[in-house]
Amino acid sequence: MTDPIRPALLDVDHLKVSFATDRGRVTAINDVSFRIDDGEFVAIVGESGSGKTVSLLSILGLTDRRTTFVEGTAAFRGRPILGLPDRELRRIRGKQIAFIPQDPLTALTPVHTIGWQIVEQIRTHETVSKEAAKKRAIELLDEVGLPNPAAAFGRYPHQLSGGMRQRAVIAMALSCNPALLVADEPTTALDVTVQAQVLDLLKRLRRDHGSAIILITHDMGVVAEVADRVMVMYAGRVIERGTAREIFAAPEHPYTWGLMASIPPVEGPRPHRLPSIPGTPPTPANIPPGCAFAPRCAHRFAPCAGLPPALSASGHDAFCFLDDNARAAGRAALFAAPETAA
């Protein structure tokens, strides 16, 4: 799976992110490690506040350096990028690693046209004429499926619909042909049909451009549709990791079971209420010692007061004390659940 000679596209090792708050340092991300190879489509799943976005923003150096402390290592094509001077990091950001923000309503500068903003990015990283950059911007807008791209070039963000804006943002992210696209919940602010179109677009772009994609989402349905590999995050840690096939066929962590159970069934009678996980996720300031999910977990037992064994280096694994038998039993209950709930 991993080529030993060629370094991974992005290799994150023991990432730890903490914030300075009024009550001292608060750790938001703890011991997150993962690697992504060229052309892979990886989904990071978790509830709001689980640290999905913060972990990637900190890798890209987009967090506030005065209040955020990032430890661990992250290497892009073998080159360490954490702690790189801003000037160096800027050459990677936007050119090699592009970011697709969450909410296209607020992610574009309202006072500049779509075209201006795309041209700005192209001309920041490449020495091309204005005309060439404009031509490329219009091609990109066409490629992401904006009707009448030449007109869209001169439009301001507020003149486009949400779906069109998200396409424009994706076109901008693609403008320098990045090797890695980081998409932060790109479909959350969109309605369902547009969501599907944007996901199709991302899949097509990966095929045509060969970019690897990290998709941050809280929507297991989205994950099932597009991802090769999945990381489930909870309270700042990766709690389960595996290929999408493995995770959907045999989820191992009780939290993942909870996420799966909350996907509405496509067939069969509509459940009266979707099952939910009781309680709320902890904020970074009050993550319990030991397994952070234990207080909400129906399967907790004595060892959960300690920290579960670290995830194995590769393959499908969960950050949990339950043994294989217990995991199998929990899964069986999960897959039986929709019928009982109905």
Partner: protein
């Protein structure tokens, strides 16, 4: 665009007519006041008062009085100040206008540049020593009354250090017309400009910094940084452009009001016989014709400045274009 312009101009005229009516009513139709006696002067004879009453039409209905007054003021331009007999009101206003305009324009250039610089530098270095120093200086600037600061400047430049290399270039107080002596005009006004601008540099710098800091929380700033843009570009092309609206709004209000006469204290301190001083003297003497003229003049600039601001909005923020 053209229709918007015409509509805006029509609104301006409407507002100014409204203001002139209000001023007229306040000074000429307040129960118990006898405008004829006021216009005739303090020691006028009964006959003179009666004559004024007939001349100005104060024995006729209010609307007619108003129209006659406006006709005298703007069409015939022979409305005379009752304090300085024989002096027409309009020429006095026209004489004072360039002085006030010179003062306020120059100060405005300084405070816009200064406010932008203070706001941008403080926001860019947020939390650092530079930021804190600038904010303290701005607060000091806001807290210093212009009459005091102006007098201190006068004391330094006209008296204490006038004979040193530092201030030997400063001419005596007063105004030199731009058309006659541009260099003298500049030299007499530099210190008044600075004294007037200090307050506004402080206010504008602090407000702009607050707006910029807020803008840096926005998603589009994160997008801009994720694009790999330089910090200067993120600041100037993305954060600053979107934070200018409050700055422009304040500028429109302050500029209009200052040109309209609020620069009084600065004018008095530096011996500039501008509109503020003219209005002040007219108010002291209850010089109704002069008050009428200066208030209408002031309203013109306030309304004009606001109209200009509305057009700048459209230029700065495309979202306003459809509204």
């Amino acid at each position: 665009m053209i229709t918007a312009l015409i509509r805006r101009l029509a609104e301006m005229v409407f507002v100014m007519v409204g203001i002139s009516v209000m001023v007229f009513l306040i000074f000429f139709a307040t129960p118990g006041s006898d405008p004829a006696a006021r216009i005739a002067g303090r020691n006028a004879t009964q006959e003179a008062v009666a004559q004024v009453r007939v001349d100005f039409g104060f024995d006729r209905p209010l609307p007619v009085q108003y129209v006659l007054m406006m006709k005298r003021l703007f069409v015939d331009r022979d409305l005379k100040s009752f304090v300085n007999r024989g002096q027409n009101v309009i020429p006095q206003v026209l004489e004072a206008t360039p002085i006030t305009l010179s003062l306020v324009f120059g100060a405005a250039v300084l405070w816009v540049i200064g406010g932008l610089a203070v706001g941008v530098i403080a926001a860019a270095t947020q939390g650092s020593l530079i930021d804190r120093t600038l904010m303290v200086l701005a607060l000091i600037g806001v807290s210093m009354p212009v009459f005091w600061f102006g007098e201190v400047m006068n004391l330094l430049s006209q008296a204490r250090f006038h004979d040193t290399w530092l201030f030997s270039w400063v001419p005596a107080l007063g105004y030199k017309p731009l058309s006659e002596d541009p260099w003298g005009w500049f030299k007499t006004l530099v210190i008044p400009w600075f004294s007037l601008a200090v307050l506004y540099i402080g206010i504008y710098g602090r407000v702009l910094r607050a707006n910029l800091v807020e803008a840096y929380q926005e998603d589009f700033i994160r997008t801009a940084r994720a694009k790999g843009l330089s910090p200067a570009r993120v600041m100037l092309r993305h954060a600053l452009r979107t934070s200018l609206i409050p700055f422009i709004t304040m500028f429109g209000l302050d500029f209009g009001v200052l040109v309209g006469g609020s620069a009084l204290l600065t004018e008095v301190v530096f011996g500039l016989n501008g509109i503020g001083r003219l209005t002040y003297i007219a108010l002291q003497n209850l010089d109704l014709p002069m008050i009428l003229a200066t208030v209408i003049y002031a309203s013109f600039f306030v309304v004009l400045a606001n109209a200009v601001v509305d057009f700048i909005y459209i230029f700065v923020d495309p979202r306003m274009r459809e509204a």
